[in-house]
């Protein structure tokens, strides 16, 4: 984006001697606004609708289908409703912290969009520490959630907040360690640099580069689900245990912020994994026109991310919630050691085959396809078996 502004300045769009600093500031503001209002928030809203529809279909119900075509505008209606509602603040709560907590959560959700590599040119700031920045700012969520839990002055909220803190802090470790294999292989932390080190074809993606990265990708996805408070790790807001966890006392706009952040975080989870392991926006060079290429890359990136978002909805529709001790033992007894092994394993692999091993991706892809085929076979089997044929209602 800086390139674009520089080009505009050089072409004299702002006069002969433009005030550079001010133009940069305005450009940053405008671009951030476009990303927040044009991409981040609508995405969170639309995902909430998609999730409710997908989830409803899995549970053999209809889901929202009244507002707009197929209920598409439901998220807008819900958003408006929440904005119009009274902002209740419990009398005994710590008012300042209570009001501040949702903003921290929303901040943790909006900051990562700065380094979101939508295409080769569409990125707000290609920081040289991009992926590090991404993991560190998303960890801000825990501050907001803990604050919300504490400030609500409600025991259920407090338990939710503490659970969330314990969970996010623990799962940061396997998530962080799973990024290392890719960083080792590329030697860069920049989002664009990591994507450029991969190709468009699946066998050039890092997920299939060697067995260790394959495991690392899975560990990262599981940890990211846990960090995003998604089922099966949705303990901080476990409805059946903690009412609504840290969000119990919130209402209206502030409640909306928590959930916009939760749904929006799905995109960020997907984007991190797509960038690191699934080749990001890489598409085959079919055109020399940069606009066409950028549009194709944007579509490619979004399709991959949305697929991962769909998988997380699928998981949510399938699995029960784990218990807190099971959650912790999964993290510390399994994921952390595995990710350490991954890191060392990748280093050893690179020492043996510095240029990469050409056969490993094919073996891994074959294995992966076999798993997918068996899985789809089972899904189809149950689809065929579970077709509803019986309608008994005397009134219909």
């Amino acid at each position: 984006m800086q390139k674009l502004v520089d080009n505009l300045i050089a072409s004299g769009a702002f006069g002969a001697h433009p005030p550079r600093d001010i133009i940069y500031a305005i450009a940053i503001f405008v671009f951030s606004l476009i990303v927040f209002l044009g991409i981040a928030f609508p995405f969170a809203g639309v995902v909430s609708w998609v999730e409710r529809r997908v989830w409803a279909r899995m549970q053999s119900r209809c889901g929202p289908n009244r507002v707009g075509p197929n209920g598409f505008l439901q998220w807008l209606a819900d958003g408006l409703k929440h904005v119009c509602k009274e902002d209740l603040i419990p009398a005994e709560s710590d008012e300042t912290l209570f009001k501040m907590a949702p903003y921290l959560v929303i901040l943790a959700f909006t900051l990562p969009w700065a380094v979101m590599p939508f295409s080769s040119d569409l990125i707000l700031a290609d920081l040289n520490v991009g992926i590090l920045y991404m993991t560190s700012v998303t960890a801000l969520t825990v501050v907001g959630v803990l604050m919300a839990g504490w400030a609500s002055n409600d025991k259920w909220s407090l338990i939710g907040g503490i659970r969330s803190a314990a969970q996010i802090v623990s799962y940061e470790i396997p998530a962080g360690l799973s990024i290392f294999p890719v960083v080792l292989m590329t030697g860069t932390l920049s989002m664009q640099g990591i994507i450029k080190a991969q190709g468009w074809a699946p066998w050039t993606w890092f997920v299939f580069a060697n067995p260790f990265t394959f495991i690392a990708a899975n560990v990262l996805y599981i940890s990211a689900l846990a960090e995003g408070n998604r089922t099966p790790f949705d303990l901080p807001e476990a409805e059946s245990e903690l009412v609504a966890g840290f969000a119990t006392e919130y209402s209206g706009m502030r409640y909306l912020f928590f959930f916009a952040a939760e749904w929006g975080n799905l995109f960020i989870i997907g984007a991190i994994i797509t960038t690191l392991f699934l080749g990001g926006w890489q598409v085959p060079a079919v055109s020399s026109n940069p606009v066409v290429m950028n549009v194709l890359q944007l579509i490619c990136f979004n399709v991959k991310v949305l697929f991962l978002v769909f998988v997380s909805m699928w998981v949510r529709g399938t699995l029960p919630r784990v218990r807190i001790d099971q959650l912790m033992s999964l993290c510390w007894k399994y994921l952390v050691p595995i990710s350490f092994v991954d890191m060392v394993g990748t280093a050893v692999w690179m020492a043996i085959w510095p240029e990469g091993n050409w056969i490993a991706p094919w073996i891994l892809m074959a294995l992966f396809s076999a798993v997918i085929i068996v899985f789809l076979g089972r899904v189809l089997h149950y689809f065929r078996r579970s077709r509803m044929e019986l309608y008994l209602s005397p009134t219909i």
């Binding site: 053999s60 476990a238 059946s240 529709g317 699995l319 919630r321 008994l392």
Partner: protein, 371 residues
């Protein structure tokens, strides 16, 4: 260095998403681990037993639905049987069959709700809607039978109110043909799910002696591996004519008597109910469904206690008659109340999340506790 921890008193309910109605627990917890959970019952007390003394024998039948609205057929049947024993009334054979058919359908519906909410209580939302989908069809069938979907008021003193409607038998058999594969699908979907088993196995283990001491009944008792089913052991109605098994807990996933065992007992009981229903629908004789009972029903002075095996276990109806048109005293003994008494003992050392599992696995229904 020792870490000082403080006990926290938590108030769970009466408005809490997973307390199955209006229950309240006062939890003393050390972090996530509970020291004790004291149940506080009485939020749903409607004086149903007292009402019986005011509305008479026939008039009390609709009220019995409210004792346990999830399986109202059994409360209907219990009240009917108690009155019949007091009045010495013989129920026609077809009436008994109708009762058994309605009650067993109701048992499946109740167990479906129980295992569905079990899934929901541990965080899986999908099993609940799938269970409810199947339950809806049973409700449709029962609606056709008696016009109501929840509080049936189907039975009368001396039989049932209406005969099976034309074509109902075929529909019921079609449902059973549909239900058996769905039951297997349901098992494949959730019962053997790794997380599901991990959450249920070894949670809330009841040993048999405790279960008997605390007077647990029904699937909760059978979950401890003890074969006790009123339908088999103190036969009533036409149950001796059917061939069915009594599933008991086996401890296949963890310890004998844990939440998973109670869950599996319910799952397997649905299969047995399906077996009973097939036999009943095949063998049902012709004839009247309702015995001649005087409108002004005045049983001789005396008392009686009948027991029916409801979906929540041995349900006892104790009725004292003084020879007038109104019962002198009615008492209902329900399984949920006994189960509530046990929760405090079981909850020690469990996690807060496990309390929810425990309540769901004991299949506690709030109106049945208080009546």
């Amino acid at each position: 260095m020792s870490l000082r921890t403080e006990e926290m008193t938590l108030n769970m309910g009466p408005q809490h998403p997973s307390t199955h109605g209006v229950l309240r627990f006062v939890i003393k917890a050390d972090g996530e681990v509970m020291r004790e959970a004291i149940p506080d019952v009485g939020y749903l007390h409607r004086s149903i037993e007292k009402i019986a003394e005011k509305v008479g024998y026939h008039g009390f039948m609709p009220y019995t639905d409210r004792v346990d609205y999830v399986c109202a057929m059994f409360t209907n049947q219990g009240w009917g049987m108690a009155c019949e024993r007091l009045g010495g009334i013989e129920v026609p054979k077809r009436g008994e069959y109708c009762r058994v058919i309605a009650a067993e359908f109701n048992r499946i519906a109740s167990h479906l709700l129980s295992v569905g909410t079990m899934g929901m209580d541990i965080g899986a939302m999908t099993p609940f809607t799938h269970a409810i989908r199947e339950r809806e069809m049973i409700n449709d069938l029962i609606e056709e039978l008696c016009g109501a979907r929840l509080t049936f008021n189907y039975m009368r003193i001396g039989g049932v109110a209406w005969d099976l409607p034309p074509g109902w038998r075929e529909k019921a058999l079609a449902y059973l043909d549909h239900f058996d594969p769905i039951w297997e699908e349901y098992n494949a979907l959730i019962s053997y799910n790794k997380i599901y088993v991990e959450r249920l196995a070894n949670v809330g283990v009841i040993n048999l002696q405790d279960a008997i001491d605390y007077n647990l009944v029904g699937p909760n008792l059978r979950g401890c591996g003890f074969k006790w089913d009123i339908r088999k052991d103190i036969p009533y109605s036409v149950y001796p004519e059917f061939d069915f098994e009594v599933p008991v807990g086996t401890g296949e996933f963890g310890t004998l008597g844990d939440a998973m065992d109670r869950y599996m007992v319910r799952i397997r009981e649905m299969r047995e109910s399906s077996k009973i229903l097939r036999q009943a629908l095949k063998q049902i004789p012709d004839g009247p469904v309702l015995a001649k009972v005087p409108r002004n029903f005045k049983p001789k002075a005396g008392e009686c206690q009948v027991r029916v095996e409801s979906a929540r276990g041995d349900m006892g109806w104790y009725v004292v008659s003084d020879g007038s048109a109104y019962p002198w005293r009615v008492h209902v003994r329900t399984g949920s109340f006994a189960a509530m008494g046990m929760i405090n003992k079981l909850s020690r050392g469990l996690m807060i999340a496990d309390l929810v599992t425990l309540i769901a696995s004991l299949d506690v229904i709030a109106p049945e506790i208080d009546r």
